[in-house]
């Protein structure tokens, strides 16, 4: 005994079928909405997001001095450049280098003495030397990575060695004596 439904495909979609289409659509939307929390819960949780920015007080940072902080689990170098270093960096703006960048592109124009970079070599991720007192600053007076010999200049730009890119400058804002990174 055939049921009405068996003749359905022969008849094509009929007017009466809208209720089935509507019901299934709503069920589909429900299922889709249910997926949202399942996927979203893997995004960073609120405490991780809250800890995802770093504030550094540079009021006691003297010229020529660098300090090391942590930003999103990685080392952060904050340097106050001397006027001589600023001039040197600007002079080299047009020099040939693997990843050309001007000093102005890497600093905040209102605080051009403050250089903020990640302390992570762009070659294979070691922490370069040069931020601490007495550390080897390399051939260009900036940072030197001992792992494979990458030399960065006073503005953290790669000048010699295997690293392909300049030390990364994260998003930051300077308000008075406080630097907010991220």
């Amino acid at each position: 005994m055939t049921s009405t439904y068996d003749t359905l495909e022969d008849a094509g979609v009929r007017r009466r079928d809208w209720i089935h289409i509507a019901a299934i659509s709503f069920a589909g939307v429900a299922a889709g909405t249910f997926v949202i929390p399942l996927v979203s819960q893997m995004r960073p949780s609120k405490d991780v997001l809250a800890a995802s920015s770093t504030r550094v007080d540079i009021s006691s940072l003297e010229e020529g001095q660098s300090l090391k902080a942590v930003f999103r689990g990685q080392p952060l170098f904050v340097k106050r450049m001397t006027p001589a270093e600023i001039t040197e960096a600007k002079n080299d703006d047009s020099a040939s280098m693997p990843d050309p960048q001007t000093l102005a592109e890497r600093t905040d124009p209102a605080n051009e003495a403050i250089l903020i970079t990640l302390g992570v070599c762009t070659h294979l991720g070691c922490v370069p030397l040069g931020a601490g007192v007495g550390e080897n600053k390399g051939d260009f007076g900036g940072y030197f990575c001992p792992c494979h010999g990458s030399h960065y200049d006073v503005a953290g730009r790669i000048r010699k060695g295997p690293a392909p890119k300049n030390l990364e400058v994260p998003e930051f804002e300077i308000a008075g004596d406080i630097v907010q990174v991220g």
Binding site: M1, S3, P37, L38, Q41, R43, S45, K46
Partner: protein
């Protein structure tokens, strides 16, 4: 699968033909829950709960796996990790409440499913295996739920674990070493928590496997039905798809709406406030209460207050604690024997007036036991538990066998079709314009087909 008139799977496109040759999974689904599985046409809503149980198993597994990405099973951080989920993880509060209330709803649905089995004697031949697998699933569910409740490491988590693992110590001779082995110490501790987390993650997948066996076993004889009369001909059945897909589908919407009501508006109603206090091994809560779905068994456990002694001597044969443990596990193990305890040839309680009355007394007894399980261990609740426990065992072990021998059942309908349409009932005209197919001679007037002999 089992019936001759079942629709046959026909792959429609080249792609589905290719799949069907290499791995006949679509065919399997078609024959299991699709248009290829004939089901009695007269199933009532009590038959919806099997599917709903499967749904809640899936909900628990999905929410559980996701929660396990954030939970930490170390006693110093477990409670804090649950608060981390509630406060920091995106939608964490929703997932946690969904999982906690999902467990309760899983048990609500399962109890309705089991009591359907009691009333309609779903455990009788040829469906004994389905029933046995079902009792195994229930035992696994209880173990899983118990261990899951320990994980937040609140006061009830810890003290519930202490009481229940302590029961194992009641077993003679091997009890103490068994308990120490189970707990990994002398009282629930970090080792206990870690192993409970591991097992709580594992067991639902074991349940899933047994559920697949349970459904497979079902598909051999096919579903029973409210009359208890087996399927005789095609007019007794409808294909699972679309008829029961639609029926299961709309009812699931209603149940999920009620579930959502609890998750969003009363998420802690079925829980205990003491579990929002961090576990303190040095401070016992005023009353140690398991979750509501364990209350009847807890009442049975606590009903035994006297040791079994040899009269006139002081010799203790079986201490009260052990009696309670035996009775508590026995109350579920007794279900394994139902197919052989109840030998009435009539399946459905609808046609067994005496059995029906005792069935409802059993339902009331379970309600009473549930209430007593949550009450303090004082009189009069102890006496009430004892009477209720006595009836419970009397019902399964004494009453059912006797009733099945002596009762006079009501006359059964000849077939499912007759039950649905009446003796000279007419099949309603199909809505499509095509007239019903003209069959050859031998048809009874009114359209009911000749019964298959």
């Amino acid at each position: 699968m089992s019936f001759a008139w079942a629709n046959q799977y026909e792959p429609k496109s080249d792609f589905t033909k290719w799949i069907d040759e290499k791995l006949p999974l679509p065919r399997l689904i078609y024959n299991a829950v699709g248009a290829g599985y004939p089901v009695p046409r007269n199933l009532n809503y009590m038959w919806n709960f099997g599917f709903l149980a499967g749904l809640f198993l899936v909900i628990q597994i999905i929410t559980g796996v996701v929660l396990a990405m954030h939970y930490a099973a170390d006693t110093s951080v477990a409670f804090g990790s649950v608060e981390h989920i509630m406060r920091n993880v995106n939608y964490g509060w929703m997932l946690r409440y969904a999982h906690a209330n999902g467990a309760s709803f899983f048990f609500i649905v399962i109890y309705l499913h089991i009591f359907r089995g009691f009333y309609y004697s779903s455990y009788k031949a040829p469906r004994e295996m389905i029933w046995l697998l079902g009792v195994v699933i229930f035992l696994l569910m209880m173990a899983t739920a118990f261990m899951g409740y320990v994980l937040p490491w609140g006061q009830m988590s810890f003290w519930g674990a202490k009481v229940i693992t302590g029961l194992f110590g009641a077993i003679p001779i091997i009890g103490e070493p068994l308990q120490v082995w189970l707990v990994g110490g002398y009282a629930p501790n970090g080792a206990t928590l870690n192993r409970f987390f591991s097992l709580h993650f594992l067991l639902p997948f074991v349940i899933l496997g047994v559920v697949i066996l349970h459904i497979w076993a079902l598909h051999i004889p096919g579903s029973s039905n409210p009359t208890g009369v087996e399927v005789k001909s095609e007019s007794d059945t409808v294909p699972f798809h679309p008829y029961y897909v639609a029926k299961d589908g709309w009812f699931l919407g209603l149940v999920v709406a009620i579930y959502a009501g609890f998750v969003f508006f009363a998420p802690n109603a079925l829980g205990h406030p003491d579990n929002y206090i961090e576990a303190n091994p040095l401070s016992t809560p005023a009353e140690i209460v398991p979750e509501w779905y364990f209350l009847p068994f807890y009442a049975i456990l606590r009903a035994f207050t006297g040791d079994l002694v040899i009269p006139l001597t002081g010799i203790v044969l079986v201490p009260a604690k052990l009696l309670g443990v035996i009775a508590m596990f026995g109350s579920i193990l007794v279900w394994f024997f139902l197919p052989w305890l109840d030998k009435s040839p009539i399946r459905s309680g609808s046609y067994r007036p005496l059995f029906q009355k005792f069935f409802w007394v059993l339902v009331v007894t379970m309600g009473v036991l549930t209430f007593c399980g949550g009450a303090p261990a004082e009189q009069p609740y102890i006496l009430i538990s004892q009477i209720a426990t006595a009836y419970y065992f009397l019902h399964f072990l004494v009453i059912l066998p006797i009733v099945s021998q002596i009762e006079v059942p009501k006359p059964l309908p000849f077939s499912i079709t007759e039950a649905v349409l009446g003796k000279d009932g007419e099949e309603p005209k199909p809505i499509s314009a095509a007239p019903p197919p003209q069959s050859g001679g031998g048809d009874l007037p009114g359209g009911a087909l000749q019964p298959a002999e």
